[in-house]
Symmetry: C2
Subunit: 269 residues, 2 copies
């Protein structure tokens, strides 16, 4: 494992091909929200890509970063980012049999968080396509999300991306969850670009409450009916945020998910 | 434009999201094969991504690289790689309004080239998906090609990737061209991950010869019939190479494309 926080080799496969993964973790002092889930996901998805990394290596890197940065940010918290790449080497796209992964760790300030009144979002024109073998994995291949984000205007908090059939799949940086007809609807992992940590946490909470969850993409028309009780955005940094308006359509805002807690894993020094 | 040949900022969007493009150019001393096409493609596709770069900036970078490296490689030639990224900055996926792109230039030795007897290739299990808005563009999002390349064994030169319907689309690092039934078949740009420079050059040659080209993906069964006169791989480094065997099936090898010349643009100092 080669770790470096400011510069990366120009031959790194993360740069050359997006050959790697990343995690973005919400921090409060030495506390890391849902840290175990983040660590577990990165190790699991690295195995899918064939990048060798252990939970121990990631936890050591997080601890070093917390030792260095935890005192530098105020009470609003901070964001810890882990970028794991396959490192350098190989012949073109073909990786070396025994590569040495790179882990790049960085810290940044928490962005402003939306309030309980919810946010206004739009629909991205740029379509979302998902390779079935990479579905849900938070890889460094994120140009589709970048291109959709270029459509964002300052009055909108997020843009929701659609599949080629026009169904709503996910935001550029958030997963979506609809409360309609007495149950919850969210796209299945197989249709997602990124299956977020907060999505998994919220779905676990709903299951524990005996709530019914339907796994499918979201039809634009399902937002218009009287059954629609609310649409939510989720990611590791913002938690769960209600959408009060989408593409010019007002939505009901309720606090059904306001009581979800975000478990803090304290990072020991 | 920020240029650096060995290290890249860890905050560069090329690393973070694969937010950029690359070109791989075959060099012979100070000669660059199809240089004008490479330069033109990078500027054109950068405009699609919204990355500001001019032909002049790229030509200046190539000239500096040629001044530095042309004398360091033998008569087999060398390979010049340009990586253009959106640089650092922005809020997450959303790019900064006025970003400063990064250009990373590197030189490497020419790989061994296959002979006129042709190569043996296989079929990749890993499927190819193409976002219609990014089709044909040589972006830094190349994880699908990396994953397919992991299936490559030492007895095979290349693996051909298929779309979800099982049609042959392109190799991990090559475009494909079939000669069958008295005409040529190659997938249209809209279905390609990368529309190669050599593909464009060869198609231009065929048109100039009055040959008929059909733009479609290639059915596996079309390789088996008596109409099949040959299958070819193409890219900027290897030129045009016949396939003598694919997935255990022997193919006819002819020299119909052996006379294509690769125009050299001499890079003045």
């Amino acid at each position: 494992m080669s770790a470096n926080s400011s510069r990366v080799s120009a031959t790194d496969r993360g740069l050359a091909y997006g050959d790697g993964l990343f995690e973005t973790i919400r921090m409060e002092g030495r506390g890391a929200v849902l840290l175990s889930r983040h660590i577990h996901r990165m190790v699991t998805d690295a195995a899918v890509l064939g990048i060798a990394v252990t939970e121990r290596e990631l936890r050591d890197a997080v601890r070093e970063a917390v030792d260095r940065h935890a005192g530098s940010f105020g009470s609003d918290g901070w964001v810890l980012k882990l970028v794991l790449t396959r490192g350098s080497g190989g012949r073109g796209y073909r990786p070396a049999a025994e590569g040495v992964p790179s882990l790049i760790v960085s810290a940044s300030v928490m962005p402003p968080l939306p309030g309980p009144e919810g946010v206004e979002v739009g629909l991205a024109e740029f379509p979302l396509t998902v390779n079935p073998r990479l579905a849900g994995i938070k890889t460094l291949n994120r140009l589709e999300q970048v291109m959709a984000s270029r459509e964002l205007t300052d009055d909108l908090y997020e843009l929701i991306m659609r599949d080629p059939a026009g169904q709503l799949v996910e935001g550029t940086r958030t997963n979506v969850l609809l409360n309609a007809g007495g149950h919850w609807i969210t796209p299945p992992r197989e249709q997602l670009a990124v299956a977020g940590i907060m999505r998994a946490h919220v779905l676990g909470y709903l299951e524990s409450q005996g709530e019914k969850v339907e796994y499918s993409t979201i039809s634009p028309s399902s937002l218009e009916g009287k059954d629609c009780r609310g649409l939510y955005l989720m990611n590791s940094i913002i938690g769960v945020v209600p959408v009060r308006r989408i593409d010019g359509l007002d939505l009901p805002v309720d606090d059904a998910l306001a009581t979800i807690s975000n478990p803090l894993d304290l990072v020991e020094s």
